[in-house]
């Protein structure tokens, strides 16, 4: 039952979340905007279309989309549904989570390089540079949570974290900010990337999938949405207190997913994109918040370093 619910979220969420973001941006702009499910309609359209595959590419280009989707999907199975166990859960599972995402990114990057296009090379370089900052920041973040709780699996960490009160609120809020920056970076949103631009020279994620068409493109886009759902689920785990009750907990979970999408939509409505050279500074903010969480934990629980 719960697994079915989570499966439904993983199938529909990647379309609905971007749909909500687009709707928020449209409302801010004074437009009606496309249907919330428009990304799903686009997906449906794309999988019926034929594909054009560049002659310069090798098998790498072909296998990247399925591997990319599979890796992100696998990562999402490691994240527990709030107040419940994850489908895959064991001590140290967050490391597997991080490297599943890394595998997805690796496939994306080598497939982009496989096309031999200078645009895609540039996009890959940017993606790698920025993710090199995100990854350690994520480990610091989860590491500090592991320190608070004394556990190293997502499910156990969140279960314990959500029982206690007081200073964990401070740690949690730092973690929420940190995870939100991770969401913006990993899912190629403003101010890191601009999902709406047609300017190849400024793109990061979009330019890497420039050569994909048809169902490959559909699944590449689905993978980004899935990443967003996954990271938003992490956020929900942080925010929903243990003992909320199953039904209320699941309802809250949906609310958190929606709020995450609305927050992204508002960020994109209000601020401009960063200059490319300033993007690392923004992502370093994630590391900064993670480190602060770590420091708070060290001082309050362990009485110092």
């Amino acid at each position: 039952m719960l697994k079915g619910f989570y499966a439904l979220i993983l199938v529909l969420g990647p379309f609905i979340l971007p749909g909500i973001i687009n709707r928020i941006k449209a409302i801010w702009a004074g437009r009606k905007g496309p249907a919330i499910l428009q990304p799903l309609f686009d997906f449906n359209k794309l999988i019926r279309k034929g594909e054009v595959i560049s002659k310069t590419t090798s098998f790498v280009f072909r296998i990247a989309p399925p591997v990319n989707v599979a890796a992100v999907l696998f990562a999402s199975l490691i994240i527990p549904l709030p107040q419940h166990n994850a489908i895959l859960s064991f001590p140290g599972d967050f490391i597997l989570f991080a490297y599943s995402l890394a595998l997805a990114r690796f496939m994306l990057v080598i497939a982009a390089l496989d096309t031999g296009s200078s645009f895609e090379g540039m996009g890959s370089a940017r993606e790698i540079t920025f993710s090199a900052i995100v990854e350690p920041a994520f480990f610091i973040l989860v590491g500090s949570l592991a320190l608070v709780t004394g556990h190293t699996s997502f499910a156990a960490i969140f279960e314990l974290l959500n029982y206690s009160t007081g200073f964990t609120i401070l740690v949690k809020s730092l973690c929420v900010i940190s995870l939100f920056i991770m969401l913006l970076t990993e899912c190629a949103r403003v101010p890191v990337d601009d999902p709406n631009t047609h300017l190849e020279l400024t793109m990061i994620h979009e330019v890497m999938i420039l050569d994909y068409s048809g169902s490959d493109l559909a699944f590449m886009q689905y993978a980004v949405g899935l990443k967003m759902v996954t990271i938003a689920t992490l956020l929900a785990n942080l925010l929903i207190p243990t003992g909320t009750g199953t039904a209320a907990g699941l309802a809250l979970y949906l609310v958190v997913l929606a709020i995450a999408a609305i927050a992204v939509g508002l960020v994109e409505s209000w601020i401009a994109r960063l200059r490319m050279t300033h993007v690392p500074q923004f992502i370093f903010l994630m590391a900064a918040f993670s480190l602060t969480a770590f420091a708070v934990v060290m001082f309050l629980i362990h009485g110092g370093f």
Binding site: P191, N196, H198, A272, R273, L274, M276
Partner: protein, 496 residues
Amino acid sequence: MNWIELNNLQTAPLAKVPLLSIETFRKDLLQAVTAGKRVVDFFADREADQALLYAVLADDHLSRLYMAAAVFDRENSYPSMTAEAPMLHLFEREVFEQYGIEPQGHPWLKPVRRGIAGISDMEVPYPFMRMKGEQLHEVGVGPVHAGVIEPGHFRFSCHGEQVYHLEIELGFQHRGVENLFIRNAEKPNYLLHLAESIAGDTVIGHGGAFVRACEALEGLMVSRQTRLIRTIALELERIGVHLGDLSALSGDVAYLTGNNVFGAMRTQIINTSMAICGSRFGRGLLTIGGVNYDISAALKSKIEATLDDIEEKVELAAEVLFSSSSASARFEKTGVISTSIARELGLVGPAARASGLAIDVRQDFPFGAYNQFPVHAITLNSGDVFARAYIRYIEIIQSIRIIREQLQNLDSGELKQISSAKLPPETLVVSLAEGWRGEISHIAITDIRGKIKRYRIKDPSYHNWIALALAVRNEGISDFPLCNKSFNLSYCGFDL
């Protein structure tokens, strides 16, 4: 320097243009440029077995134009002037490409437009400058782009994200406009449509320069009402494009608010053009001898209401855009063109004014209603994307006030003078106009039977493309689209 002195739209017998030896021509020209004069145009013409090289210089402070020609009998080359007067670099290349007169020692003698048989044949690859080094890479963009924009090829030599050099290859839309003017010289309506189509976003700018050139040659005095309506249309064109540019600049940095509100206002303005003449881009309004449409009292009050609305909204939107720290962080200190470089390259229009050059044809060489209602050039000094964006905002407000003034002076005067379509023989006229992009120059020369034998067109983009290439040097390659948009140059106006 015994060059003939001219005013904007003042006709002169061809015989009055001094024919100099190339040595004197060269010496005079370089001296004038050193003394601060600007090259408005530099072009060639062929006459029997002679080739003539014409130059039109402007002294913006004295509001005077100077013109002379050099004759080439046997020699088909001369020592290039580009090294000493960089603003000539493209003119010399063009003359070489079209007439084979070689500027010897030109540092950058490359094709100007693709598709011209011989020198810039499509078959021959463009000789891009190559940089060598292990960590350098090249990025080629275009001529087919991801967005619906005009074709042009941009070749970047980069070190990582940093642009060392950009070379721009244009001419993909070369359609031989100047030759079409000659071949269809007997069909004035054809020529009018052609002039309106030189650059689709500068219909009134180019169209106006053309009709005024014809009227000047013919000696036709247009009515005051005509001059006012033409000025209103030209300023509406300026406001419309500037609003569109502010919207696009916001869009390029993903600043949604600016993108939307300026875009919506642009629609209001171009719809006003449609209310006047049925075309949102002003097509069909102008005719030789007048305008085709009047502005009724009802329409006048409607335009006034629109302007009030736009003025209030623009000020609000500009305050939001230019006080947004995230947008300013992208605009400021990006793509800087210094005043000295702007002057050396002979930049024109808002791009020049954003770099501190106080040049504006409406101020320096007033035409039409600007003679009665003077305009002052507005300048900014930083020469970056911010300045080129901000100057658009100020010019929108300036244009709104100009239109208001013109509207108040409208009466019910006659609209059209009948054109005899008879031009005087062996006469020339220089018609300058300040389009929204900057100085537009049309030069018409008639032959012994009073038929146009040379029609020379210069879009402001012609001066400014090189500035874009220099603006992105040492910038991040991801800032190129933003710099490009801040100039918003015409491809088809350049390609002709």
